[in-house]
């Protein structure tokens, strides 16, 4: 989805759950939203500018649609940071649909999922970290994680701690020998607890970010389930030599090179008979995945066009490389689950799926920097230690800010959100 085409126009959406309810809230955001709603409610111009509340009736062609309460926020202090209005109307789908239609007639556009939050992020109202916390709450993956303010979040806590340790280090450099004060009694112990905190932070990010989803696909009996078991390290999928034994998707959570990855096995397809249904289902779920591993014995079966079109990222595996002649095409990776050939390379490739990078990778980098800093202190090079801590701080501030490398993660977090968030 390309948000950038129309990053500025007025957007609108119903922000409360679908279905019938006592009230529903419609959010309208973007410069000019106030006058759009004022127009719908027949209010004088400027009535909803600034922090304002107005009650009124929305009419279309003289017909009363609903009586509503509208709340206006000025630019700079709304959820999105833009000029914004929230319309509270009756929670009847027909009513909300009508009002949305009116808004669109007046120049607004329907928001895409997560777009309000995205704008909040872009205008600096929310940090990358907050967006991701929100998204993980939204997905219900992490119930312990309340939408706390910036101050309470792990990220700023780690930033504060890193900074504090660096200050201690600097005080040790400048004052300890020259003035006999300053620094810390036990610098290494300080680093020890900082390392712990960093590890905690890394675990947290991988939970927040969610997993990278990979689908194993390929013709019947191409060795998908054997590979799946190899990855899963157990008998998770039913395997047999008879074609078509794997009837439906099994999935397993694995950690490959520190990335949490969900590998989904699918039924093989020869495009006929009983497999057709399972294959169609597999294609249907492909949208939510980060990539596909396409397997075929000796690389003989090309990736179907439907998969080429939908999958973001494909690894082509030429399987059973111990039995058949290897595929010479560079696009294909020769793998044998019997000899283990190519397994390492495959894991490396999987861990490089774009979806599995970003925040977790950033957390890794932070952990590396802090570790390097501690090593430098042990080696007796405090200035280098300080450089490394400063790097970690920069990475963290980037996450608390809206820096470039945090952006991938934000896009990912937003893609899991609903319209109206």
């Amino acid at each position: 989805m390309d948000y950038h085409d129309d990053a500025k126009g007025i957007i609108c959406a119903v922000s409360t759950p679908e279905g019938r309810s006592a009230i529903a809230v419609i959010r309208v955001s973007g410069s000019g939203s106030a006058s759009v709603v004022e127009h719908l409610m027949g209010l004088e111009k400027g009535r909803l500018r600034g922090m304002r509340r107005k009650t009124g009736v929305i009419r279309r062609a003289g017909v009363e649609l609903d009586s509503v309460v509208a709340l206006g926020w000025p630019e700079g202090s709304s959820y999105t940071g833009e000029e914004m209005v929230e319309i509270m109307c009756h929670g009847i789908p027909e009513v909300t649909a009508d009002i949305l239609e009116c808004l669109m007639d007046a120049g607004a556009r329907k928001a895409v999922p997560g777009e309000f939050t995205r704008r909040a992020f872009m205008s600096g109202r929310m940090s990358a970290w907050q967006v991701m916390s929100l998204a993980s709450m939204w997905r219900g993956m992490d119930h312990g994680n309340r939408l706390s303010g910036e101050g309470g979040s792990e990220c700023s806590r780690l930033l504060r701690e890193t900074r504090r340790v660096r200050e201690l280090l600097e005080a040790d450099i400048e004052f300890q020998e020259e003035h006999g004060t300053g620094g810390s009694e036990d610098l290494l112990a300080e680093f020890g607890s900082l390392m712990e905190l960093t590890g905690e932070f890394r675990r947290k990010t991988s939970v927040m970010e969610g997993e990278c989803r990979v689908m194993l696909m390929g013709p019947v009996n191409s060795g998908k389930s054997t590979l799946f078991n190899r990855i899963a390290g157990g008998e998770a999928a039913l395997v047999s030599d008879e074609p078509g034994t794997t009837r439906d998707g099994a999935s397993v959570h694995v950690e490959i090179r520190g990335r949490r990855i969900l590998v989904c096995d699918t039924a093989g397809s020869d495009g006929t008979g009983i497999d057709r249904e399972a294959y169609r289902r597999a294609l249907g779920t492909m949208k939510g995945t980060d990539g596909v591993i396409w397997m075929s014995v000796g690389g003989t079966e090309k990736t179907p066009g439907e998969i080429e079109k939908t999958a973001g990222w494909i690894i082509r595996v030429s399987s059973k490389s111990d039995l058949v002649e290897k595929c010479t095409d560079k696009e294909w990776l020769g793998v044998s689950c019997v000899t283990g050939e190519g397994i390492d390379e495959l894991q490396e490739l999987v861990s490089q799926f774009p979806g599995s990078m970003s925040v977790t990778a950033l957390a890794d980098r932070i952990e590396n920097r802090v570790g390097a800093a501690r090593d430098s202190v042990i080696e007796g090079d405090f200035a280098v230690a300080s450089e490394n801590l400063a790097d970690a701080e920069n990475e963290l501030s980037d996450l608390l800010d809206r820096g470039s490398c945090a952006l991938i993660s934000v896009e990912r977090a937003l893609s899991g959100m609903c319209v109206g968030k």
Binding site: E177, E178, T181, S376, E379, F382, V384, D398, G403
Partner: protein, 606 residues
């Protein structure tokens, strides 16, 4: 009937000495006017030169052929390399000096350096402010000069305080430069007030050093000067003691009589060198503070109590001192006091240390808002060079903060201003891994050669060292140890300098310490290059103007808070914008994107 010289230096402190010598080395007829000849080069405070970052400044001054390093080497009583276990980038060479001998050594250097010294008080400047014609002396009348350097230290409008006692002076027994202070104010220079203080001096015979911790000298033959000085062979003992609850109590009992707390001193003091009463107020839970007991000189009868600076009344100081272990019968020779003085605000000062509103008036030392001998000397040599270059009609020398602590200091003072006396710290330098004490000669060489400040002898020494360093670097590029290229070993910190020299046949022809230094440059290369790159990116931002932006409030690429700040402060360049509080790095990126969209200023930049 008045004479006309080239450069007039007002003040014979650490800044004035270096300024006068630098101008003189550049061939200028130079006159120093100072209140008292025999106090030239006096250490107003503690008898020590160097320290962390400060020691590196001393070596930078030496690389510009200044005199501080040699004087310190020749009169040292003890040497320590501070932070030895914390990495070469933060090593701090420091000597305890014989204060009297140090001042004498400096006085002799001035004489040898053909600087004429006039003992007098400067009471004002002559000529229009835009183009100063010289100085007015109290006894000798007007003295004309083509450039003037103000190095008045703590003397401008100097006021001394101790308890309820208040008297005029730049330090005890000295004048206060009140008339000059008035003249500067009349000329509408923006001056502000700072304060600093000094501890009591004790009669050595009156204390018992038996129970004190003793500090001894590190004997490694280190000299501050790259030319290698005649190192002093005199040695003295130094001691440390700790204050206790009684000391703190004594200070507390008299707090109400502190001139600072009673509000009689308005100037702000140094946070990092506080008076003992400041420490008691700031750390009420801590009574133990380390005090260094330092003889003022070889076999001197006076001891300096480093860490016990105070401006409390005499009774208080008396009680405080006597609580220290071994000090129960101590006799105070001179009581501590505080000094409040005027300094020139940073807005007035250009990176060449010229005062912006004038063509030929320069400032150096404590009068620029700094504190410390080394800081003063660093600014002094730069001001001297630029006063001379002004007379020679050459462009002023500006030192980059990427290459020297002097550069960091000038950039900090002028770019950010000071809100307390500025003391150098290694952490002020983003390029700290490069700004080491071991390579100051190579770092400063381009500026030293370009400015013309080097005497022939010094030039030879420094060029010789740089040439030798070049040979070592070639050896690193060309040598392998057990098949591993020496360059890689450098980066891993595993190259043994002795081995490098013997393998490459350089042994005997280059100094070992030079090899160590070049190896460090190699080792830190990655960090240094990265810091330089970042700095280049930043400084290119100073050439990006924001004048095309009518309203920052409409820039959607940056966050709301930053928009408000920018709109209020209206910075002229991207760099100024970056320095504003509330503007985050990503807002700057946003601003760049916005500018890129809006016009082509940014694209044309490179």
């Amino acid at each position: 009937m008045s004479r006309c010289v080239d450069v007039i230096v007002v003040g014979g402190g650490h800044a004035g000495i270096e300024a006068a010598l630098a101008a003189s080395r550049m061939g200028m007829k130079t006159v120093m006017v100072t209140a008292r000849k025999e106090r030239i080069g006096e250490m107003s405070c503690n008898p020590a030169i160097g320290g962390i970052a400060k020691g590196t400044i001393v070596r930078e001054v030496d690389a510009l052929d200044g005199s501080m390093a040699v004087a310190a080497d020749e009169t040292s009583l003890q040497f320590r390399m501070l932070n030895r276990r914390k990495g070469p980038a933060v090593w701090g060479p420091r000597v305890q000096s014989d204060a009297m001998m140090y001042a004498r050594a400096q006085q002799r250097t001035l004489e040898a350096g053909a600087v004429e010294v006039i003992e007098d008080e400067v009471t004002g400047l002559i000529g229009r402010t835009e183009r100063i014609e010289g100085v007015q002396c109290r006894r000798n009348g007007p003295l004309k000069g083509r450039a003037v350097v103000l190095a008045t230290g703590t003397f401008l409008g100097g006021m001394l305080f101790r308890g309820e006692e208040t008297w005029r002076g730049g330090r005890t027994g000295d004048i206060s430069a009140d008339r000059l202070d008035e003249d500067l104010r009349r000329r509408m220079f923006h001056v502000e007030r700072f304060k600093t203080g000094t501890p009591p001096r004790i009669l050595r015979d009156s204390i018992d050093t038996g129970s004190m911790e003793e500090e001894t000298s590190e004997e490694i033959g280190f000299s501050f000067s790259y030319s290698g000085s005649r190192l002093s062979e005199l040695r003295e003992f130094f001691y440390t003691v700790h204050t206790n609850r009684d000391t703190a109590e004594a200070a507390k009992d008299f707090l109400h009589r502190s001139p600072l707390l009673a509000g009689r001193i308005e100037g702000k003091g140094p946070r990092y060198c506080p008076s003992f009463e400041d420490k008691v107020v700031k750390f009420p839970e801590r009574a133990e503070h380390r005090i260094y007991v330092e003889p003022m000189g070889y076999r001197s009868r006076l001891l300096y109590l480093n860490g016990l600076s105070s401006s409390l009344p005499r009774e208080a100081q008396y009680r405080m001192v006597r609580t220290l272990p071994g000090f129960h019968d101590a006799v105070i020779h001179r009581f501590g006091y505080a000094v409040e003085y005027s300094y020139i605000s940073h807005e007035e000062i250009a990176p060449t240390l010229r005062l912006r509103r004038t063509e030929n008036l320069f400032a150096a030392g404590q009068v620029c808002g700094t504190s410390g001998y080394e800081e003063a000397a660093g600014l002094g040599v730069l001001a001297g060079i630029n006063a001379a270059r002004q007379c020679l009609d050459r462009e002023g020398l500006v030192l980059s903060r990427m290459d020297s602590y002097i550069g960091v200091m000038v950039d900090d003072i002028i770019g950010r201003g000071v809100d307390e006396p500025y003391r150098m710290f290694s952490s002020r330098a983003e390029n700290r891994l490069y700004l080491r004490q071991d390579n100051a000669d190579r770092r400063m060489l381009p500026a030293a050669l370009g400015s013309g400040v080097l005497s022939e002898g010094k030039k030879k020494v420094l060029e010789g060292r740089t040439e030798a360093a070049g040979r070592i670097r070639t050896a690193i590029d060309e040598t392998s140890m057990d098949g591993v290229p020496a360059g890689i070993l450098c980066r891993r910190g595993e190259l043994n300098p002795l081995e490098l020299l013997s393998t490459s046949g350089l042994q005997g022809s280059v100094e070992l310490s030079l090899a160590e230094s070049v190896i460090l440059d190699e080792k830190y290369q990655g960090y240094i290059q990265r810091n330089l790159r970042k700095h280049r990116e930043r400084s290119s931002e100073s050439s990006v103007t924001l004048s095309s932006i009518d309203s920052f409030m409409d820039i959607e690429e940056i966050c709301w808070e930053a928009r408000e700040v920018l709109e209020r402060r209206r910075p002229e360049t991207l760099q100024q914008a970056r320095n504003l509080p509330g503007v985050r790095p990503t807002d700057i990126n946003g601003l760049i994107i916005h500018l890129g969209r809006k016009c082509s200023t940014w694209n044309n930049r490179t």
